[in-house]
Structures are given as structure tokens and as C-alpha cells.
Amino acid sequence: MKNESQNTSSSTDNFLRLFKAVAILGVIVWLGFFVYGNATNPDSNSPFKLGLDLAGGAQLVYEADISKIDPAEIPALMNVLRNVIEERINVFGVSEPVVYLESSSFVSDKRSERLVVELPGVTNIADAVAEIGRTPLLEFKLIDRAAAAAQEQVLALQASATGTGAQISNVQVNGELVDTMNPYTDTGLTGRYLESARLEFTNGQGGQLSNEPVVSITFNKEGSDLFAEITRSNVGEQLAIFLDGEMLSAPRINEAITGGTAVISGGFNPQEARALAQNLSFGALPVPIELVSTQTIGATLGQEVLDKGIKAAALGFGLVLIFMVFWYRLPGLIATIALLAYVVIIMALFQFIPVVLTAAGLAGFVLSLGMAVDANVLVFERFKEEIRLGKDSRQAINTGFSRAWGAIRDGNITSLLSAIILFWFGTSVVKGFALVFGIGILVSMFSALVISRMLLLSLPSFTKEKNKVLNFLLGSGFQK
């Protein structure tokens, strides 16, 4: 705080004060245009970010089953989980999907890890739920040679019969009715028995292409036994490998394989092979997940909530400004400018941090508009008291600020501490509110202590007796 005795009213000093005030007004106006430009320009790099409840969309919360996992591995596995889910979501082409992890805080008895998926604009969640819950299904099936041969013939017949209107039905092989379209018999061996899978490149032996990317898989004990059993009793047959219902390859079984490893080749490119190896080695997902919470909000409804929130904010703000000017007159007008600066700075911060705006955050912002005048009010009340004691206005301003500082500090620090606790404990919704609340506190202090003060000090100095007009302008309430 500046010393009261430093109150020289030389013209250069006055000019400097005025210059500072005009400069700060200029910066605010510039920032205002900047924020406006960002908000209205669709190609802007930092527009307002709207939460799902305002933009419309779906939020899915999955709980990971970590009961069988070594706690030390959890963070790494959860990250892998996020990557896998992110990839699956990208299939949808949803614009800006968000996938993030959330841990239960230490206050809950049970540690739990969650995965939150946000899909803006998606309200039909059935497909999304299916896709996220999808496990890449790896199956090993034996080919029934008789059926396969029959199928080939049937297909040939079908091809020649095309256009003649003839139909083929009741295909029998060795007197038995066969399902011609499915010459494959399940072996019971699936991706469930995998221990690991990794990308390898063939070395060109045995007539293979050299450097072809393949996925080498290793079965677990159970799987190895099953695999050995199948290969032993089906030497000479073909074992088809299916991924998600599509046959990748059908190698011939030359001998019983007891090592518990196999190679899947299917004309992959290296990226595909790597993705498959990754998906397979996680047994689909690194940790099993369960959908525990879903939320969808229609886009029109979200837009309406947003519009109403903005209207409420504008009306509330307008009323506050009118009251301030009516009650505190000239200082009130200055507080109004400081409040406008407050709004502009907050909005700029929302755009640049960026803060995701939700209905709760919007409510917090509206609340902060009402509370932001507090520091100004504290100062003005102090200022009035000092004027009443006969001090000149500039001294009164300086004393007003320095005396009000203690109350402003203590009040705001407790509020700030509350915001920090909220942020620390909260789920994402609460965090959004806490962030808006916390930013609001800091910016309102800045607007009152720096902007209001600078503007007030740019006013000419006067004392109670000297100037009736100024005296009125600096009065308040119902007094004349």
C-alpha cells in the first residue's frame, strides 16, 4: 500500500495517474475484443469449452476390476486401458471424444479406478457401449474337409445358377445334412487362453515371405494343453484362425505342437500386426471393466440450459451494476468498470486454461458476479468513513484500501482454501465448479485492488468542504 503522505498533486503526477487509468482501460477493451473474437470465430484456437451437460452428449463411467492386480501395476495398466478405449472410440468419428481416468479419493474405504468416456453430441449410447465393451475375439476352428469341399461345390453351383432363379437347399454330405455356410468346428480354444502376443517378422524360411509382420502368441498352461491336444488329434487337418469372426489364416497342422506357441499371419501391415498383438496380449483389455454410470443429455436441452444460464448471468450482472451506480455513484461507476474487467479477465482465463464450462460452473460464475463486488464495497465503505473524518479524497482512497485489505485478505483466503479442498476432493463436476470459484476469487481481488484503485486514484483530489458536486458523486445511498 502506498503511503498517505505521498500525495503530491503536481500536474505531472496527475497526468501519470490518468495515463495509467487510460492504459488499463485500453488493455481491458482490447482483451474484451479478443475474448469476443475467440468466442464467435468458429475456427478459433481457444473457444469456450462446453461440458457435456451444456453441449449435449453422453458420459460413460466404467469401473475397472483391480481386485486381481498388483497395486504397483495399476497406474500403468490403467493407462494402457485408456489407450485401448481411446482407439476403440476413435472408430466412431465423434468430434473431440474425451477419455480420462479417475481414482476414488482416499476417503473411500475401497480403492477404485475408473475410466470416464465423454462423447459430445452422441445421445444414442447403445453403439458406443457395444464398441467399448467389445473384446477382440480370437478363435481357433478346425475345418471340416468334407463340408468345406461341399461348400466349394455349392458356391460354384450358386455362381453358375445366378440369374436363373434356381436355389440350392438341403446339401447333404455322406447322407448327413450340413450347414454349408459353416464348415468350421469350434475347438474351444480362444483368445481367453492367451498369455501374451507380440509382433514378429518372419525370416523368409520355409517358403514364407521374408520380413512379413506376424503376431506370435503364447498360450497359458491350460491353453497350451488344449492346443497340444487339438493339434495331436488333428494332424493333417487345417486349423483356421478367426479374429472377430473373420478368418485370418488356415495353416495345416503338420504335427502336434506342444510348446504352446503359434503364429498368426494374415497379410498384415506392421501397424495392424502391432495393434492386433496389443489387443490380444491384453486379453482384449488389460483390466476387466464394468459400466457403472451413464449420462446422456440431448443437445437441444443442453443449448437451452446454456442460453438460460447466460441470460441469468447477464440480468444478474446488469442489476448489480445498476445498484452499484445508484448506491455508490462515482466510485460505483468505477466499480462497474472494474467488474466489467473482472468478467473479461475471467472469460479470457476460461478460454485459455481452458476451463470446461458446465451448468454447475455457470452457476458458480453467476454467484461470483454477485460476490465480486464485495472487495469494492468494503473499500468504498472505508473510503466514506475516511471522507467523513475530513481527509481529502486521495488520502481517503489510500487509507480505505489499506484498512480494507485485512478483511479482504482473510475473507478471500478462507474462500480460496474452500475452493482448493473442493478441487482436491471432487469428482470432475465438482472440480469444474471449484476451479471457476477459485479463479473468481483471485480475479475479483485483482479487479478491486488493482483496477478499481488505479481508476479511483486518477480522479482529482478534493476534500469534503471544497466541492459540492464531487461530494455528491462520492457520497452514497440515500444521502444528498
Binding site: S293, Q295, E304, W327, A359, G370, M371, A407, G411, V430
Partner: protein, 325 residues
Amino acid sequence: MFVISYRKVFLIIATILMLGSIAIVAFVGLRPGIDFTGGSLMQVSYTENLPVKTEVEAKVAEQSLGSFTVRETKDDIGQDGYLVRTKSLTEPERKSLETTLTSFGTGAEITRFTSIGPVIGQELKDKSVWAVTGVMLIIVLYVAFAFAGIGKPVGSFAYGFITILVLIHDVLVPMAVISILGVVAGVEVDVLFVMAILAVLGYSVNDTIVIFDRVRENLIQNRKEKKIKTNIAGVVHDEVTYTLTKPFDEIVGEAVHSTMSRSINTSFTTLLTLIALYFIGGSVTQTFALVLIVGVLAGTYSSICIASPLLIAYAKWKEGKKVSS
């Protein structure tokens, strides 16, 4: 100063209000929403031909989803519809309920669906209790710290505890109001309610601290310093004792008086924005706004009419104890 002369009346009113609120919250209780209990909430809106409630209920009952409630509602666009609350639904159950609800009326649309597992609900409950307790603890510690050394006649922890008492009052009153509205209008408590309560805490403490801050300033201005030199083990110590030049209650009364217009003006501007939020804001934040409106009113009343009288009452009680012992 009326606050000081009528302090007994104010304290009696406050006690009645507080006990009444406790009774209401304890016996009527808040209606927990699905955020806390877990469950699903599906909102369906119809552009025309709103089906009758009993028909909707009958159809939902056919789904055998366990107990459920159907409530009439108007969405933010102004369309009529229903809010169906059930247990936490699985994906197939959700789909079939959605099909059922959109099979009536005209232009049916599921505008909102929320499903929360029971584990998350319980966790949120725990978190809320911890957050509120944590905030209160931080406040009492900060107030005690900020007012440390304020000394006579009331120690700094007394300021902290009075702040907490006032906070409890400010939180109980809106809780009681929402409890009553839960019975009368089916208002349910959700995460936003907890945030509103925490915001009330923040607001109320600010209001009280401003007055206490003024008390502290007036105490410093209205005391005489007396230095006594004492010689302990050959080292000379300066022992400073203070005596107040004005009675404590007068000092407190002046502090309340000079901060009163600030308290009222800040509350007024805050109420202006909250009322705007309540009447023209979205339906989601209506309860939030209401809790804060009640909380701000209670907070303003309590910081002026409870906090300072309590301070004086405590000082008098301490003085009385000293005299009698």
C-alpha cells in the same frame, strides 16, 4: 447499538431456528437423489399428446424394473414430459425402457438419462461429508491463526469456534428448507446441493470474518499499552499488558455498526444474481440457487445478529467465571 442491546432476543431466535432446523433435518430429512443412492433417471419429453401419468406408470411397471417413480416435469425447452426414476439400469434395461417411453404420445424424445451405480453414490456421500468437514476445519484453523494474538478479553480460538457455530447455523437453515421442499415438492438433493452448501460456507465465513476483522481493529485502537519490566534470572523482559479504554461490548457494537452497510450491500448484490439464476436460469441449477438464496439470507442475519452477540456473551461468561473463582 440494537444488536448488542437486544442480543438475548437474537440469540434466542437463533437457538430456536437452529434447533428447529436440526429437528426438521433429523426427522423429515433430505431426499437423496440418485447421485447418492445410485439409480437411473430418464427424462422423456413429448411435443404433443402427453400421455396420462397412470398409463406411463402401467407401462413402466410391465418392465419389472423393481420399484420406480414417475414424476411430471417440464424440460428447459418448455415441453411436458415425465421423469422416471428406477434402480440403476443395465444397458438392455435402458434400451427397453427407452422404447417403452417413446412409444406413447407424439414427438417423444429422451432428453436426459443418468444412471449411477450404488458404489459411486456411496463414495459421493463419503466425499461430501469429508469436504464439508474439511472446509469447516480449515476455516476454524485459519480464523484462529489470523486472529492469533488478539488476546483479551476473548482468545483467538473463540473467534474460530463462533465462526463455526455461525456456519453450522447457516448450513442448517437451507438444509431444513430443502427437507421441507422434499416433502412438499419432491425436491431431491444432488451433487449441486453439496456445492451450494459449500458455497454458503464460503460466503458465510467471509461475512463473519469482515465483522471480526473490524472488532480486531477497534480493539487495537481502543487499548492502552502498559509495559512492565521484569527481571527473570538476570535478564530483563518487557511484559506488555493491555487495558481496554472502552467496554468490550461497545467495541463489538461499533464494529457491527460500521460493517453493517457492507454486509447488507454485498448480500443484496449476491441475492440479485442468485434470484436471476433462480428465475431465468436452467432447471438444473434452480435448487442450487434456492439453497444459496436461503444461505445468504441466513448468513447475513447470523453474522450480524449471532456472531457478535455470541462474542459478547462469551466474554461476559468468561469474566463472570473469573470473578466467581
